[in-house]
């Protein structure tokens, strides 16, 4: 359990305390990852299934390393389109996996709400590894963790999210978590990528990149997906990078020296971030990857029924 929650599906449902419970435990988990022998027996005998309906190497691997570090047994079930084309519904697939009695089902799906539908039909805990444009809660939590680590606190900090907000589950999970920890949010992108009524989630909207990033304590740069070009949300990547991409010159002129740059990956180098910025002093992108494992360990641990004392053992 994370607070009142048996599942980790939407940070919109999580309180500040519930978010902090995960972040605090992730600190201990990160310490485990720094040991020479990166393995603790906390979830020995527990089984976790990665059920991925969308291709994702990094998130799937991150959950896999998290599970294995905790000594859980892990099954990777790549649903691709195979079971779907055979006519098996999502509910059928989930029930079949449930019959194998896993403790946690980690699910990635292209349809918003899919993890919730699964959770209604299985008895085990469900963790969303991203559903459509809805939420990507473990990413939101690892972003919070990284900001807390780098900035000390989110209280009173300003975070700008830049890119295709309308299709971004990362943006939504950040929007549903960071303000609960005291951050002020700015959203930036071409107007075609700003979804209707997003201000209701508690953010200001900017079409001008400079206006969004100047004075910000952190910037989350989102990946521009090539299928959006000609969607027709934007005319092309060249113009996008000119107006909404960050390069070394803009970074030097506009960013606070202490500003950190996050990116959920994988980076389109030369589109949203120039290589100098992606690898430069502001970037904390690789820290995010390591923190992702620690945060996912904390989530799996809490939902698979571990206890605090076991974790520290």
């Amino acid at each position: 359990m994370i607070g009142r929650h048996k599942h980790c599906i939407a940070l919109a449902d999580y309180s500040r305390e519930e978010i902090l419970e995960v972040l605090d435990l992730a600190v201990s988990m990160k310490e485990v990852l720094r040991r020479p022998i990166k393995k603790v027996p906390s979830l020995r005998g527990r089984s976790i299934v990665n059920l991925f309906f969308e291709a994702s190497t990094r998130t799937r691997s991150s959950f896999e390393i998290a599970a294995k570090t905790l000594s859980a047994d892990l099954l990777n079930w790549t649903a691709s389109a195979s079971s779907v084309t055979k006519g098996e519904t999502l509910i059928d697939t989930a029930r079949n996996l449930e019959a194998m009695r896993p403790d946690v089902l980690v699910i990635r799906h292209a349809a918003g709400g899919a993890p919730r539908l699964v959770a209604e039909h299985v008895g085990c805990a469900v963790v969303s590894a991203g559903d459509g444009a809805h939420e990507h809660p473990s990413q939101g939590l690892l972003d919070c963790f990284t900001l807390r680590e780098k900035l000390g606190t989110l209280e009173g900090k300003t975070v700008a999210i830049v890119g295709d907000i309308s299709h971004s589950r990362v943006a939504r999970s950040d929007l549903h978590s960071m303000p609960k920890l005291g951050a002020k949010m700015r959203l930036c992108g071409p107007p075609t990528m700003i979804p209707a009524g997003v201000e209701a989630l508690g953010a200001t909207v900017h079409y001008d990149l400079r206006e969004a990033v100047e004075g910000a304590d952190a910037i989350v740069m989102l990946r521009i997906q090539h299928e959006r070009i000609g969607d027709p949300l934007i005319p092309g990547t060249r113009e996008y990078s000119k107006f909404w991409g960050l390069n070394a010159k803009k970074a030097a002129e506009w960013l606070k020296p202490s500003c950190v740059i996050l990116h959920p990956g994988p980076v389109n180098r030369g589109v949203e971030l120039s290589p100098e910025v992606a690898d430069g002093p502001h970037s904390v992108i690789l820290d995010q990857v390591q923190n992702g494992v620690a945060v996912r360990m904390a989530i799996l641990y809490l939902l698979a029924g571990g206890t605090e004392s076991e974790a520290k053992a």
Partner: protein
């Protein structure tokens, strides 16, 4: 069996003949014989005690999907007609998007034959605007009308080609048939699955802007000005649509419109509250509270003429899915009256206007018989208990399908008897499933 039905003690509400008060209704030989305060009970009459109840003309639904032929696992003409009876509907207009599409006389004849076998509600087929509803060539309107079609529609999809729409409006004038149009610009809809706005943004679901409906209504009203003819706008759902229709009516254009009970009662927030509930997925999508308010006002002031259910049965196979993957639509015949009656209780609608929107207004929109209890009218009657409370159990619906957002909800208002052509086709607690 008696050919005379004597309905006594009920409050007769018949807006078409201006009656609202306790009256006795006598039906004889399939016709309304008399509606009066004091009537001697004929010796051979079958008496129905309607004290405490409403006695209205049988409801007329301009928009249902009966799925036969082709998708009988969802509904058949017989089960759909039974659902109609259980909801107080004595006439339903069956949309042509069956498989195959009803775009010719034989398809129309099949629907009518099935309805005659069922012997329940009157079923009026609607023929296709274009062959196969493919939006490319006109269907044969004269032949469709001769076979029994009362209107034309490509419902389920819009007529995207404005040139074809113009010709359809023109050609239908030869036969005096109304075109009932499903308005959405597919380019604006894109892959949208719910109303565009803050709720869709929060849920991460692709939005359908209100303007997808409005630009098509505005287009067709402009065409109507060019062609004349008869245009009926199906399932109006936005404030902008209401404004366009109100303006067109003021200018005297021959347009009528309908709204569904769900677009009067539910909003996009209900999609969120239900947790991506697919019984809240329909087309047009559930709109904002402001749009709902506009539709309620438009129904009350007559800008929107009729209430139509857009009864759209789907099986669990098509609904127990991801929200993106589930099909659009809900069943509506058996819940329409109580859902709309709640609007009366909340002060959005008068009782008489409610009855009118279910009886006289739809009859007049499509030129159908019924919709009144005037002497000599068809003996189509609904008897309703406005106080009866019941919990919607989808397993007990007469429809074959169970896709209703009112599952498990307590509703007030229930049909107790439905009479078609002088014959009781539904009696609460008596009719078999």
């Amino acid at each position: 069996m008696s050919d005379v039905i004597f309905i006594e003690g009920g409050r007769v509400i018949d807006p078409a003949s201006g009656v609202d008060g306790v009256r006795t209704v006598v039906l004889r030989d399939g016709r309304v014989a008399e509606v009066a305060e004091r009537v001697e009970r004929p010796r051979d009459a079958r008496a129905v005690d309607a004290r405490g109840r409403w006695v209205t003309p049988g409801f007329i639904d301009l928009h249902v999907h009966l799925r036969e032929p082709g998708q009988e696992y969802k509904e058949t003409v017989a089960t759909g007609a039974a659902a109609a009876g259980a909801g107080g509907f004595t006439s339903v207009c069956a949309m042509p998007n069956t498989r195959p599409v009803n775009d010719n006389a034989s398809g129309t004849a099949l629907g009518l034959a099935r309805a005659a076998q069922a012997g329940l509600a009157r079923v009026y087929p609607v023929g296709a605007i274009s062959k196969g509803s493919a939006g490319e060539e006109l269907a044969e309107y004269g032949e469709l009308q001769a076979a029994g079609c009362v209107a034309l529609s490509d419902d389920g999809r819009p007529v995207m080609n404005a040139g074809l729409m113009r010709r359809a409006l023109e050609y239908a004038k030869a036969f005096g048939l109304p075109l009932t149009v499903h308005e959405e610009d597919l380019h604006l809809v894109g892959k949208g699955v719910m109303h565009e706005g803050p709720v869709a943004t929060r849920l991460g679901l692709k939005g359908i802007p209100a303007q997808a409906e409005e630009v098509m209504i505005l287009r067709d009203l402009a065409l109507l000005e060019l062609t004349g003819g008869r245009l009926h706008v199906a399932h109006v759902s936005t404030r902008g649509s209401v404004r366009a229709i109100r303006d067109a009516k003021r200018r005297g254009l021959p347009v009528t419109a309908e709204v569904t009970p769900h677009h009067l009662a539910l909003t996009d927030e209900d999609v969120a509250a239900s947790g991506y509930g697919t019984d809240y997925k329909m087309n047009p999508p559930l709109r904002s509270a402001d749009d709902v308010q506009a539709c309620r006002e438009a129904l009350a002031d007559g800008t929107i003429d009729a209430i139509a259910t857009d009864h759209a049965p789907h099986s669990a196979v098509e609904k127990d899915l991801e929200f993106d993957a589930a099909l659009n639509g809900i069943v509506g015949l058996e819940t329409a009256f109580p859902v709309c009656l709640a609007l009366v209780k909340q002060g959005h609608l008068g009782e008489r206007r409610l009855v009118e929107a279910l009886t006289r207004s739809p009859a007049s929109a499509f030129g159908l018989p019924g919709g009144t209890l005037a002497r000599g009218a068809p003996a189509d009657v609904a008897i309703l208990d406005p106080a009866a409370e019941w919990v919607v159990d989808p397993g007990r619906l007469r429809s074959k399908s169970r896709n209703t957002p009112w599952k498990g909800k307590r509703l007030a208002g229930r049909c107790t008897h439905t009479i078609v052509n002088g014959r009781i086709v539904y009696e609460e607690g008596r009719s078999e499933r």
